[in-house]
């Protein structure tokens, strides 16, 4: 299903759509306040972007350096070409240890690879331990946002869910009370777990370490209570130097939620005493993105979610309308590089206002890439016939001045004299939710010529 169709479902509930819009704008405002406390904010973004650009240009070398150092620190490094290999590697490690109960902290990569359903199909129980992720997991849904997975759900709905699943009081919807209930339920899961899976926020080539950031401490709880830690990362998470973390830890949380830093920023170099640390490095289409000069900057992404919080389309259409693990502006670039045919509508889910580009902490030229994707998609034949024909027609009209003037005249007259049912027919997609402005009698060009004539006279 395309984005407009799924967004229509979301906006059908007008109150919820406005509430969602407001909730995300609140986060965006917090981000603005946090960024404004750092005088060198723009220089930080510039440096972060330069570090990422450099690292990606020779990512193979840095990955080998990382592997060498991580191995020296006692970690075991695995390589996965795609999602299937990733899932098989993780399951293989778990099987080797006879692990059947897993606590997992937030990892968009494992969502991208569909790890949970894969493990569950093989009899391994996975508990998402981030509160937002736990809520969507219990609802058998996907996260609708990469930092705030349950941003689309109201507290009353969480209350009903927890009443059914965790036995909280009926109708209770106080976030404090509900969080407390989840804390107790999740603590039981931690205490019963055989292994912990985490994502990776940053990996450092020169030290062979990985960094995991959370606010709840759920990643640390899992890795501190079990002997087996599997960390899954896309290869673009790599940074060359430990010093680079100074730049990125200053940007990440401020951009994501407006906090000065995440509550826990944990650096793992090797396994826990008597345990094992496995690091799975995943490609899954990333090398292909790297080869496309126009789109490789999307690999700078540190998954802060700032582009979503600010996006007028995301805020009003909800994360699920994108139909991809990563929604919003960055997802609308990542998804078509995975499958342009399936996700052809996403680059159009943007007003190209450029707000995403302005807030991106690693200076991804998001709205330019969205436009570039539209060109790519228009060049292939994945767009619906009607849209393709309309664009072809428009392009011809705009290329010829006489045709433009003629069409303008015809349309102005037609709009004035046609009955309403004709103007607002099914073909007029734009007019479905809006009124067209009244058609003027004369064009701007005609009025300008008259005015200019008056001026001279």
């Amino acid at each position: 299903m395309d984005h407009p169709t799924q967004a229509t479902e979301f906006v059908a509930d007008e109150d919820r759509a406005h509430w969602h819009d407001g909730a995300l704008w609140f986060v965006r405002s917090k981000r603005d306040r946090a960024a404004s406390t750092v005088p060198e904010w723009e220089a930080l973004r510039q440096h972060a972007s330069a570090i990422k650009a450099h690292t990606l240009s020779r990512i193979g070398d840095y990955l080998e350096q990382f592997e060498l150092n991580a191995t020296a620190r006692g970690a075991k490094v695995h390589w996965a070409r795609d999602a299937t290999e990733h899932n098989a590697i993780v399951r293989g490690i778990l099987n080797d240890h006879g692990a059947t109960r897993i606590v997992k902290s937030k990892s968009m990569l494992t969502e991208e690879c569909g790890l949970n359903p894969h493990l569950e199909a093989h009899g391994i129980q996975v508990t998402d331990t981030d509160l937002g992720e736990r809520i969507v997991q219990l609802r058998k849904e996907e996260p609708s946002h990469i930092v705030l997975p349950a941003i689309h759900i109201k507290k009353e709905e969480v209350g009903d869910l927890f009443h059914d699943e965790l036995g909280t009081e009926a109708e209770a919807s106080d976030p404090q009370y509900l969080t407390e209930a989840a804390r107790h339920a999740l603590r039981e899961e931690f205490l019963a777990a055989d292994a912990a899976i985490t994502g990776v926020n940053f990996a450092v080539a020169e030290t062979g370490g990985i960094v995991v950031c959370t606010n709840e401490g759920n990643a640390d709880m899992g890795t501190g209570l079990t002997k087996l830690h599997i960390a899954c990362m896309g290869f673009e998470k790599l940074l060359p130097r430990a010093q680079d973390l100074g730049v990125f830890t200053r940007l990440l949380a401020r951009s994501a939620t407006g906090q000065p830093v995440t509550s826990y920023t944990t650096h793992y170099h090797g396994p826990i005493a008597g345990g094992e640390l496995h690091i799975v490095i995943v490609n899954n289409g990333r090398s292909e993105m790297l080869r496309k000069e126009q789109f490789r900057r999307a690999l700078h992404c540190i998954r802060c979610g700032a582009c979503m919080n600010t996006c007028p389309v995301y805020r009003r259409s909800g994360g699920h309308s994108y139909g991809y693990t990563v929604p919003g502006p960055i997802g609308s670039i990542l998804a078509p590089s995975r499958d342009a045919k399936q996700h052809y509508s996403l680059p159009y889910a943007s007003s190209l206002c450029g707000s995403c580009t302005n807030v991106c902490p690693v200076k991804i030229d998001l709205h330019h890439q969205l436009l570039a994707w539209r060109e790519e998609i228009a060049a292939t034949k994945v767009l619906p016939w009607r849209k393709r024909m309309a664009m072809k027609l428009l392009s011809r009209v705009l290329r010829h001045g006489w045709l433009y003037r003629l069409s303008g005249g015809i349309v102005r007259t037609a709009l004035r004299i046609s009955p309403r049912w004709m103007v607002y027919s099914r073909l007029n997609v734009w007019g479905r939710q809006r009124e067209l402005p009244p058609a003027p009698r004369r064009s701007f060009r005609q009025r300008y010529a008259e005015k200019a004539g008056e001026g001279r006279g």
């Binding site: 193979g60 030290t207 100074g246 826990y264």
Partner: protein, 200 residues
């Protein structure tokens, strides 16, 4: 071809020219009053600061804390200041630490810009102590306060410990309708004691 070789060969084909890594020296401003900044940052992230004038006063300062007075099971890595009643050496499985009331642990560095404290619990037999405890107290020497994260990483260098972390405030979440709740999975409160005077 193994997955590793396949990925690396693809990536070596995708190699391209780019500017060198930027230098990071001289980054990050300094605060006029880093202690005041640390205190305000720490409050922002939900923690509380306790200033201790001399290291000999630490024991009294800690004894005054409600979380210390009320803790039934207490672990302390500073037995000279507060005696704990949980010995990690006697605990085989960290899961036995569930219901630990309080942990008092030394922090290495404090960061003014964000209220974070670098903890490198190499002497801690169970790192889970930092998360499973209902309340956490970190004790840092005032002389180890730096202005920003750049300085912190500069001090830490490239020889990072097997496990080390920045802790900024107590465990928290805002996953239900953006309402901030302190005490999500880990400690429900965090006190940081900044100890002036000798390098304690």
């Amino acid at each position: 071809m193994s997955g590793r070789d396949a990925i690396l060969s693809e990536l070596s084909e995708a190699r391209y020219d780019s500017p060198p890594l930027p230098e990071l020296s001289g980054f990050g401003g300094e605060y006029e009053d880093p202690i005041a900044q640390f205190e305000s940052s720490l409050e922002t992230v939900g923690g509380s600061l306790i200033r201790v004038a001399r290291s000999v006063d630490l024991a009294d300062a800690l004894a005054d804390l409600e979380v210390v007075r009320q803790a039934e099971r207490l672990y302390s890595s500073l037995p000279a200041a507060v005696a704990g009643n949980v010995a990690l050496s006697e605990i085989a499985d960290p899961k036995e630490l569930n219901n630990l009331g309080l942990a008092i642990v030394r922090g290495e560095w404090a960061v003014a810009e964000n209220g974070a404290v670098w903890v490198n619990p190499t002497d801690l037999r169970h790192r889970a102590v930092l998360f499973i405890a209902e309340h956490l107290v970190l004790v840092v020497s005032e002389s180890k306060l730096v202005h920003n994260m750049h300085q912190a990483y500069e001090r830490l260098g490239a020889n990072l410990p097997g496990y080390g972390l920045f802790i900024s405030g107590p465990s928290k979440t805002a996953d239900i309708e953006q309402s901030l709740v302190i005490g999500a999975q880990g400690p429900r409160s965090l006190h940081v004691c900044l100890v002036a005077g000798s390098d304690e």
